[in-house]
């Protein structure tokens, strides 16, 4: 079982308190338009994404107090939340990471927007920078 080569930084999430304000500001800072606003109720978030090269920059606002994103916001404040690295086959890569002794939050992927399959790596494996694996079926 060989490790999959990381293909790209697929997305970077920034947690914000007020998505309207942040969207306006990032539009001005980046000089580009985002996609229309999206919701992921199961995850308790609303989001707006901007495309930069091969990477999505995603602004995320929690919509439920008991969501992981809301907990992160309470503890750390606004700012970078996590980075997702695209792999070709997420189940295979999860097994490969486990075999290399890297601890994962779950071994089964959850589903994000656009059918993205996501697995989080335990935070203390990556020195405070939360990294997740993503397999993006649409290659978006």
């Amino acid at each position: 079982m060989t490790p999959a080569v990381p293909r790209r930084v697929h997305h970077i999430d920034v947690v914000v308190r007020d998505l309207d304000q942040a969207e306006d500001r990032y539009r001005r800072v980046l000089g580009i338009e985002p996609l229309p606003r999206e919701s992921l109720p199961g995850r308790g978030i609303d989001l707006v994404r901007f495309r930069i090269g091969e990477t999505w920059l995603i602004l995320v606002q929690p919509t439920a107090d008991d969501s992981p994103v809301a907990a992160f916001l309470r503890e750390h404040g606004e700012g970078f939340f996590h980075m997702a690295i695209e792999v070709e086959d997420i189940e295979n890569e999860a097994r490969s990471l486990t075999a290399r002794g890297v601890r994962l939050v779950t071994t089964e992927p959850r589903t994000g927007i656009d059918g993205w399959k996501l697995i989080d790596i335990e935070l203390d494996e990556t020195f405070g920078a939360m990294i997740q694996l993503v397999e993006a079926p649409e290659k978006t």
Copy 2:
């Protein structure tokens, strides 16, 4: 004066206390080898970079207590430090941002590794996620 289109997420910096430990761990997590260690004494940092798609993931350890990176580490702990967005002409883009009312830390670029020219955007413009512009002469 039209805004330059952001070309890619050029690099993402993660601040760590112990570069040796972090390098070993990230090698295991990412399954790839980094470039040889580099130093930027003027900035008070040592660093190791991994290539993921079109983006550098850079682990940074402060080597001087009075460096901005050391100050960040004291205040925020380990984790994501900033993200750099590549533009074609950084002086032009800095003028364009200023004209759009976006505040910059400096209007003149400083020099990073590989001759990268860097300008930081004021942190409160981007809701806690530190973003910088970079012009990379070598297109590395």
